[in-house]
Symmetry: C2
Subunit: 144 residues, 2 copies
DNA sequence: CCTTGACATAAAGTTAGGTTTAGGTATTAA
DNA sequence: TTAATACCTAAACCTAACTTTATGTCAAGG
């Protein structure tokens, strides 16, 4: 049995966050003695689940939904799988988008590196795209 | 010369967003005739810059800083490069984190796929980590 | 003359996931 | 006895990038 302060230390999560999770209903079985929260193994397990699902990029409302399904047992495996499947597709798209972003940034870095060396941007502006270094041209093409 | 409605259509950006950008000072040279905003080529160029920098994942306050530097000329190439360099490193880290997230999600998908096939999670719980399929074991190890 | 539509403003609302504040209780140590 | 801790609550605040709302101006068309 742990107090909120102990759980906070064990998981390195602010007390305010634990209270917030409680208020949001993430510890359906949390007990109290004379008003003070007492976290038992079940509550600690619930917290581990929250942490893990947050790690996988789920929003809290999805975590909540997942917990509901999990307490309903084996009839909800499909729902749970679909939840992760959807999130997986979203993450794959996020990664793709960030890789495009990275191309832009690498181009920008090259651009200003050259501007610094030349002392001016003029020579870059006058450069035809097909005269760019091959690697840079690839970057350039990837977002134009 | 364009009205706000025309610009909104040309760029597919809500009118409210354009007004917001204006209020935030992103169109330092925007003219008005009898109270109505008139966007000229310069303002359109400014908007293109905003769009491009937002594409590269910069926050509006960084976009603002960049514009300030850009109007100061060649003496700020270094500042501008550093801005992109920093953002580049941040994006690389975001991608790494998402790839870890993806590993968790792929594991979860495998897990529930198997639970659906078995009709129960029990057999997975009893499975030793070194008895997992090699690909799944790799995923599992990557976040444990 | 009246309505429609495009423009304008200021201020409040939205979202998520908390954090901070103000005020109160209960136990314990000096 | 009083001071320090650790706990409690409700409600306000935070960030970013907008969006919505309420209200108003102005010109053209029927």
């Amino acid at each position: 049995m742990y107090t909120i302060g102990q759980v906070s230390q064990m998981f390195n999560i602010p007390i305010s966050t634990l209270r917030y999770y409680d208020k949001e209903g993430f510890f359906p079985n949390l007990k109290r003695s004379s008003g003070i929260r007492r976290f038992d193994e079940q509550d600690i397990e619930a917290l581990k689940v929250i942490e893990c699902l947050k790690e996988s990029g789920l929003e809290l409302k999805d975590v909540k939904q997942f917990i509901k399904w999990a307490t309903k047992g084996s009839s909800t495996y499909k729902n749970r799988k679909e939840l992760f499947e959807k999130r997986k597709i979203a993450v794959e798209q996020e990664i793709k988008k960030l890789q495009k972003t990275l191309n832009i940034l690498e181009y920008k870095c090259w651009y200003y590196d050259k501007a610094i060396k030349d002392g001016t941007e003029d020579r870059i502006y006058k450069m035809l795209p097909n005269k760019l270094p091959p690697k840079i041209q690839k970057l350039y093409d990837s977002f134009h």
